[in-house]
């Protein structure tokens, strides 16, 4: 019945903190395996050529484009998707600040931005605005103009450093 003979590959890796096993067509990208074979649809697709960043996941803690990563390459490795970012019901500080500031408008690019920003803050707890721009330059957003995203990353960074920070008033109400 199927168009061609298929033999599924069998893979075991650590996904969002749990060891999982999955069988899937071996030519599939990690993006396809996640969305189609593991039903984790939080990881998005946007361009099919590694340009937009919406498919970003963390592979061994580093952001990678899952549309350009073969599923077979993650055998035995550690993958985090957006579904694994919160600690149970408790949001990651970045998820909290993205939600509070409206850094997620349509929300389609949001998982990629959140995971990229998470890795940034892990290696650099005190990034400057320029460092944030550099880190996020591979993720496109068509809604926000990026500004609410920068502000959310800065606010989360401050809170993760233990500072009782709030968003600047101008970010929410505009300049007086």
């Amino acid at each position: 019945m199927a168009a061609r003979k298929k033999q599924k590959a069998y893979l075991r890796f650590n996904l969002n903190g749990e060891v999982i096993e999955v069988a899937f067509a071996p030519h599939k990208t990690l993006l396809e395996a996640l969305r189609e074979d593991l039903a984790l649809t939080g990881t998005k697709h946007g361009c099919e050529l590694g340009e937009c960043g919406v498919c970003t996941v963390l592979l061994d803690g580093l952001p990678v484009l899952s549309c350009l990563t073969l599923g077979l390459d993650v055998e035995g490795r550690d993958v985090m998707t957006i579904e694994g970012m919160a600690n149970g019901a408790e949001l990651h500080p970045l998820q909290d600040t993205f939600a509070d500031l409206g850094a997620a408008q349509c929300g389609y690019c949001t998982p990629g931005f959140l995971l990229t920003a998470k890795e940034l803050l892990e290696k650099n707890p005190h990034p400057t605005r320029e460092e944030i721009k550099d880190a996020l330059a591979g993720n496109l957003c068509r809604c926000t103009g990026y500004i609410k995203i920068y502000e959310a990353v800065e606010l989360a960074a401050a809170r993760m450093r233990g500072e009782p920070a709030e968003a600047p008033r101008e970010a929410i109400y505009g300049c007086p």
């Binding site: 019945m1 969305r35 984790l40 697709h45 997620a104 349509c106 993720n139 809604c143 109400y173 505009g174």
Partner: protein, 813 residues
């Protein structure tokens, strides 16, 4: 009680506060289900075979080979869906799959359903299509010069889709009174929405003969109507659910061929069918910004007061009608609502070309003329030696007035916007005073808060809301509106929460489902906050009235004393005498039965009664002013925008954080259009799209995005819920002309077209060095026979909004 609407008063608890969006948590945890995230048991995958040639007759299509491929379940061609459709009643010119003719590279000719997506891709190669090539039409001059072959057999002759001409007052008399008359030509290149989510749709035809379509559409109501027409099913048997859109910007506002095709495939196979477009296909769907060539003649007095304006626009419409007739009128509609234009003439023409169809993109038909107008005003100010900010400020349209073309302006906060950006940017110390290579520019704009008329003629409300209150204290708000990321679901919750004194997160919002929610026309024309907001306000006030009666009786207090806040209903003179909100619902349910209310909104009638008066009227207009500061490298022509100061008159912010996000996002999109975004085709008759990928279609990343300083001006409008006006589109408009004007201030050359690429800047700088005009841009517009103008006397002349009778026109001439 109903007369004392809370919506005209000052909000207290929720409105004006930066609450989270009701769907924020889902969007930040990957839980939001977009169309392509839906998977149903036994689901098939569809693909469309698209034309590889721009203009051709279809001699034959043969699907016999593809049907033999294992895994292919069915294949269809255009013959199975013979009825045409289109978003506007006057342009029903699309077939789901082309039957006899293809009109652009990407036009679909066949659809297949297969067991998986790989098989569906492979199957496309096995469909045999024979084409007979026709001469293709690649540009506006091409279309005007080439009457045969015609792309469509309707329209205003040859390859002209639509010609319009309107004249308000005697413009020649106005030019005669002017101290200075300028004529300029501008070009605004087409560009596309580029939503990060590719369009996707899933159809399911159930055993009872009912069809359900989930689709990433901004306009489920119009899709519903198109499906009923083309599939020849009763509309009552069709359910359209708009999934949250992963970016819309106008690009998901038409009914699309892929939506109809998956429905047909689901009906034939009895299985759910999904289609997800590739990024390349999204470029072919397009419906983006029309390329527009413009000629504008403006007469002014010494102080900059406009005496008359004559505006001509030439639109490259692409291969189908789409919203194009409306787009054409929009290129001539809103010139009059910023600065006073006492006499005004507009002529517009839209051509068919063999390119993906153009349609509505953020600002629909108005960023192009706004660019032309604001750059020309800059040139006029220079000639009159008046500061361009001051000249604009002097001649604003007064609040509460009616323009020459019969648009009623309510609140008007543009003056305050200009003040803010002039002060914030230190304009007076920068304009004309910065070193060579650095400059500032200013521009202003206005936009609709919802189209005053629906797309198809009817007298029904534009937006409906149903509220259900349950005895546990839960409130469900149902509305047909579609959340495309702007936060429209949240706006419903905030307004209902404000009126009922509960928390927005107590409310369940059900939207964009034609089976469950009353009609809202869709997320376009910046109509949603104003129209659904007013409908929600009415429904909530009706519910509050029922609760008030029941609570007053229980507390033995006069009904005018009953207040609602903090999930309680209480006697305002003695707030300790209270019931919980849930108890209030129980009291009301005991007294009246199950509590449900409805609200609806219909815009006020427009004073314009002439043919063409349907485009432009709106319950209110938002205003924006922007100052751009740029750095231009004279060696490379590269323009870097350092900062944009923008003031936006939003009437009132229902949620200021969301308003800020819309302003910043609009500035971003305006920046992209100004500097880099373009939908262009190879310069030959093959009309091959140059950039159908995200790698080559340039859009701003974090590294190109400028800093933004935003000022929110709150000048409440009597027609807005709590005074609110739009913010989703308007703030884009002043950005491209402000940047163009800043480039001139920086290096003294005019780039009279967008995008302002380094090549164009450099060509103008080099041209100047060679003694040529320091300008890059079009010099002429094509000759065309314009139709006789519809002549209308302006309100100032005592006009009634109706077209002048022929004899009267004759007598005056």
């Amino acid at each position: 009680m109903a007369a004392r609407s809370i919506g005209n008063g000052k909000p207290k608890n929720v409105v004006g506060k930066p609450y989270r969006k009701v769907d924020a948590r889902a969007k930040c945890t990957g839980q939001t289900r977009f169309a392509d995230d839906i998977a149903l048991p036994r689901m098939l995958y569809a693909k469309l075979l698209r034309s590889p040639v721009p203009h051709a007759l279809i001699k034959s299509i043969d699907v016999s080979r593809v049907l033999k491929l294992p895994g292919v379940v069915t294949a269809i061609t255009g013959k199975e869906l013979p009825r045409t459709y289109g978003i506007l009643p006057v342009s029903q010119d699309e077939h789901t799959l082309c039957i006899d003719k293809v009109r652009f590279i990407g036009d679909p000719v066949a659809a297949i359903a297969a067991v998986d997506e790989d098989t569906a891709f492979d199957a496309l190669d096995l469909i045999d299509v024979e084409y007979e090539r026709l001469e293709s039409i690649a540009s506006i001059p091409d279309a005007i010069a080439t009457s045969e072959p015609r792309i469509h057999d309707y329209g205003d002759g040859g390859n002209v889709h639509k010609r319009v001409a309107l004249e308000f007052g005697d413009v020649d008399e106005g030019f005669g009174e002017a101290d200075l008359v300028r004529e300029d030509v501008f070009f605004y290149e087409g560009n596309t929405h580029l939503p990060l989510e590719q369009h996707a749709a899933v159809a399911h035809f159930d055993p009872d003969g009912k069809l359900t379509l989930w689709s990433s559409t901004q306009t489920p109501h119009y899709v519903h109507r198109a499906l009923a027409k083309v599939l020849e099913l009763p509309a009552s048997h069709i359910r359209v659910i708009a999934t949250p859109n992963g970016g819309g910007f106008g690009g998901k506002s038409d009914p699309f061929n892929h939506e109809i095709a998956v429905c047909k495939l689901a009906m034939i196979t009895g299985r759910p069918v999904k289609i997800t477009l590739t990024r390349e296909e999204v470029f072919y769907c397009h419906r983006g910004r029309h390329p527009v060539l413009m000629w504008v003649k403006t007469g002014v007095k010494q102080d900059g007061a406009i005496t008359a304006m004559h505006f001509r626009s030439f639109l490259d419409g692409g291969a189908y009608g789409s919203y194009g007739v409306a787009s054409t009128f929009y290129t001539g509609a809103l010139q009059t609502v910023t600065y006073d234009v006492p006499r005004y003439k507009f002529e517009g023409v839209r051509c068919f070309t063999n390119k993906p169809p153009c349609g509505p993109k953020r600002g629909h038909g108005t960023p192009q003329p706004r660019f032309a107008l604001e750059v020309q005003i800059d040139k006029i100010a220079e000639q009159l030696q008046i500061d361009p900010a001051e000249m604009r400020q002097r001649h604003l349209v007064p609040a509460g007035s009616t323009t020459a073309n019969y648009l009623h302006v309510g609140s008007m906060g543009l003056g305050k916007c200009i003040e803010k950006v002039v002060a914030g940017s230190d304009w007076k110390n920068k304009f004309g005073k910065l070193a060579y290579g650095r400059g500032v520019g200013i521009a202003c704009s206005a936009y609709l808060c919802g189209a005053g008329l629906p797309i198809y003629w009817n007298n029904m409300p534009h937006s409906g809301v149903q509220l259900r209150l349950d005895r546990q204290g839960g409130v469900c708000v149902m509305c047909g509106s579609t959340d495309i990321g702007q936060g429209s679901d949240s706006i419903l919750a905030y307004i209902v929460a404000e009126v009922l004194g509960i928390d927005p997160f107590d409310i369940r919002v059900v939207t964009a489902d034609t089976d469950l929610t009353p009609v809202d026309l869709g997320s376009y024309s910046s109509r949603v906050t104003l129209m659904t907001g007013n409908a929600a306000l009415q429904a909530a006030e009706r519910a509050r009235e029922l609760l008030t009666l029941a609570v007053a009786e229980k507390l033995g207090a006069p009904i005018e004393n009953i207040g609602f806040a903090e999930r309680r209903a209480f006697d305002v003179e003695n707030p300790d005498r209270c019931v919980t909100f849930a108890e209030a619902v129980q009291l009301a349910e005991s007294k009246f039965g199950t509590i449900g209310t409805v609200g609806s909104y219909t815009p006020p009638r427009s004073p314009g009664k002439y043919k063409g008066a349907g485009v432009g009227p709106s319950p209110a207009y938002s205003y924006s002013a922007a100052v751009a500061e740029v750095c231009v490298d004279p060696e490379t022509g590269i323009v870097t925008v350092d900062r944009i100061w923008i003031g936006h008159d939003v009437g009132r912010s229902i949620n200021p954080a969301l308003v800020m996000g819309q302003v910043e996002g609009s500035v971003y999109m305006g920046l992209g259009e100004a500097l880099m975004e373009e939908m262009t085709y190879r310069a030959n008759r093959n009309v091959v799209h140059k950039f159908p990928s995200m790698l080559e279609y340039k859009s701003p990343t974090t590294l190109e995005m400028c800093d933004v300083t935003t000022y929110l001006i709150e000048d409440p409008d009597p027609n807005g819920p709590f005074g609110a006006k739009e913010v989703g589109q308007g703030p884009l408009l002043p950005v491209p002309p402000a940047i163009a004007n800043a480039v001139y201030d920086a290096v003294g050359v005019r780039v009279d077209e967008v995008p302002i690429t380094p090549e164009k800047v450099l060509a103008a700088i080099r041209g100047r060095a060679q003694g040529k005009e320091p300008r890059y841009g079009p010099k002429t517009v094509p000759e065309i026979a314009w139709p006789r103008s519809i002549k209308v006397m302006t309100p100032a002349e005592g006009g009634t909004g109706k077209e002048m009778p022929r004899e009267a026109v004759h007598a005056r001439e």
